[in-house]
Subunit: 443 residues, 2 copies
């Protein structure tokens, strides 16, 4: 028995919200992810909601119904405002009590159906906002395969740098341009240096790309000057969402040395509205793995717990829908499917321990991106730059269109699931964004 | 006559706060910088205050005295809270009206002395907080001399990268660890790779350094997807402070490729409490200069106004006080003196235009660092790594101590002045921080 499991994971539980029980919903009663929402086109205040089947349980409304007490009540109160930062400031004990109270109230036979039915809002009628005020956003680079694939394109003679297997490489990202799923992003304009040119070009990016990532929301955090030891690091992982780190490769190639990506990324980042809380992922944990030739992590990045189940089996699929496909009402075409535990060289606990080892303070609501989660095979590549070999090998979509990089009107969506024998499949909802023409920009 | 000048710059003006009139104060009536303060060790709320001589004019108190009306009143109201973000959200017209009202109320013979005297708090009795909630912090790299000097140390065969004279190089910095002057920073711990080693070291940094920078606070800002044209960029420059970008060079050298500095910087950044508003700098503007061999800026980075007076003559001095000097009551020893306009290859307007050209949104309270402002000579170098040639040439302090990098107990302070014939000298106050032993960290 996995010691991380409790009654909220019980595969036998079903919900009185019957759309949660169909075996294909992302949101069975074992999941219970949280978002900030309101009814679309309404003047309602944004507030916390928990997904169950095709519905959202309105947290402040459910609180009035009296389903929360003690730690769960404190959590529900903290989840009733316009962001989840207050909830993220609480502890794992609060988050666990909150999930337990939700599980008990929403399960079939709970006796709460009559009063809670009025607290449900259909997801199809909801509008979402960012789940938290993101103080700082850090993007990591945890896939060895991505680092190697992209390294070959940017530095053919030196693809994987010598620090990679020792240092969880990361950089600060732009927080102000993160938006929730549904983002429409004008193609960015900027400087690029064409091969063999001596003067840069200035104009819309010609190599627009997406990057398949997970977003890790920080709960708790540490004081400036303190560090979070790896053994405690997961107590500071509130939950996980999907993240698209849109990238303008031609701008990136010209600007990134020596201080890293800047305008090639800062124009937009899209995350899914739903945060799957860490506890919900307990059945889908995986051992931390290394090849025999890889060095052991330095002690501050190593712990028995991290070795045993520091990784997560989250399978993420990216799909594209072009303007032509949309006009013809064709469904989105898959681009790749990748699995976090297989792609990532570093676990969330290692990222948190590394980020804070120098005394840097993480705060509730901070967001860590995993970096592009490319697996070892081409079919597991999390970005077009890898799939197309730097734009040299176009892909053909089911309707006959071809792509090297994204065209105006192309929408990219990510979805993700966790599946395991004996556990109920859970999902992450959707992270969707569309590239628009550069002249659609606000002037 | 400089068209940017108005009666607040009139060199003949004196204040009824006589300590402002001594010709050596950083804060004559022509300056009027703003901070967030309260009386030290009090339970008072933090609020806006304006420096005049050795005093602070308490803005909410002064507002009650009725010295503000119209736009100035809106500005004073916005400056009465616990951060200046609301003030920064307003316009240049508001900031200018605010300065004018302050200048008229504080000048000798204003008739306001009797009622405003009770609104003064001595700076010696004040405690400061960060002037704004900093949403995002971006650090640039605007000194060609620093880029070349440091480039030689990190990449001997390739010091100045080919993008430098085209792209205002910058990267996202960590906002959560920025503190106001007075910061005591535990020496960070981290990974380093000693020369010829094959396994990294883990321990306290041995190459602690400071970086002389200016901090540029954003006012106004732009919507995501919009850009700020260079001709309008300075309308979004609220004001300027001093900034110390503390750096752990050994951690930096090992971690920075390929995504830029991360833990080598994120443990601490110190800024001065006073923001000198852009209008106060009008007498000290300088032409944007290029060597004959430098390429003309791309059109989005070029404007006649920027050419004519896009730079600022701000002279910054860095000084060190060791624990031994402090114990012996010796004054701090100067390390270098550098001038912004002489050191910087890019102006603030160019940084703002570049940052937003891709549609990235700047928000009121965002902070841009200029990057280390090293001038062309060794005596104008803004970091120990340059002054000591990467630690190879120790400097000898007046009391006989030597330094390559900073030792525990070393305090570094920056001060800055603007001076010009016919104008009254203005200053920036002080940006001070002290390195503490690594085991002083919060655990």
């Amino acid at each position: 028995m996995n010691a991380l499991l409790n009654e909220t994971h019980d595969a036998a539980q079903q919900s009185w919200v019957t759309s949660a029980n169909d075996g294909i919903s992302d949101f069975p009663i074992q999941n219970l992810p949280i978002a900030i929402f309101r009814r679309a086109s309404s003047a309602e205040k944004f507030r916390g909601g928990v997904a169950i089947g095709e519905q959202i349980l309105d947290i402040p409304a459910a609180q009035i119904c009296g389903i929360f007490s003690d730690l769960a009540l404190a959590a529900a109160t903290a989840a009733s405002g316009e962001s989840l930062n207050a909830l993220m400031t609480l502890s794992t004990a609060h988050w666990s009590a909150f999930r337990l109270a939700l599980s008990r109230a929403l399960r079939a036979g709970s006796g709460h159906e009559a009063k809670l039915a009025a607290c449900l809002v259909p997801q199809s009628e909801a509008q979402f906002s960012l789940p938290a005020r993101i103080g700082d956003y850090t993007d990591f680079y945890t896939s060895l395969h991505h680092a190697t694939n992209v390294g070959k394109l940017f530095r053919p003679d030196n693809p994987l740098l010598p620090n990679y297997k020792w240092v969880p490489i990361g950089y600060h990202g732009r927080a102000s341009s993160i938006r929730v799923s549904g983002q429409i992003l004008p193609r960015p304009i900027g400087q690029t240096m064409p091969p063999n040119a001596t003067v840069p070009n200035f104009g819309p990016s010609k190599r627009m790309d997406y990057e398949v990532e997970l977003g890790l929301f920080i709960g708790g955090g540490n004081a400036l000057g303190a560090s979070i030891p790896i053994a405690e690091a997961e107590q500071h992982l509130f939950g996980v969402c999907l993240l698209n780190d849109w990238s303008a490769r031609d701008i990136q190639g010209w600007e990134y040395q020596p201080l890293g990506p800047f305008l090639s990324k800062s124009f937009a980042t899209t995350i899914s509205p739903w945060i799957v809380m860490t506890e919900a992922l307990a059945p889908f944990r995986a051992a931390f793995t290394r090849d025999g030739e890889d060095p052991a992590p330095l002690p501050y990045l190593d712990s028995p717990t991290n070795q045993a189940h520091g990784a997560f089996n989250i399978k993420i699929t990216a799909a594209i829908e072009t303007a032509t496909m949309r006009a013809a009402n064709l469904s989105a075409a898959p681009l790749s499917t990748t699995t976090y535990a297989r792609a990532a060289y570093w676990t969330p606990a290692q990222l948190i321990a590394h980020h804070t080892v120098n005394g840097c303070n993480l705060q509730p609501g901070d967001l860590l991106g995993t970096g592009t989660l490319s697996g070892p095979s081409l079919a597991e590549s999390g970005a077009l730059i890898e799939i197309t070999g730097g734009g040299k090998n176009p892909i053909t979509l089911p309707n006959g269109e071809t792509r090297t990089f994204l065209e105006d009107g192309d929408a990219v969506s990510f979805s993700a699931t966790c599946e395991k024998a004996g556990a109920v499949r859970i999902g992450f909802g959707r992270c969707w964004g569309r590239v628009a023409a550069h002249d659609s920009r606000v002037i």
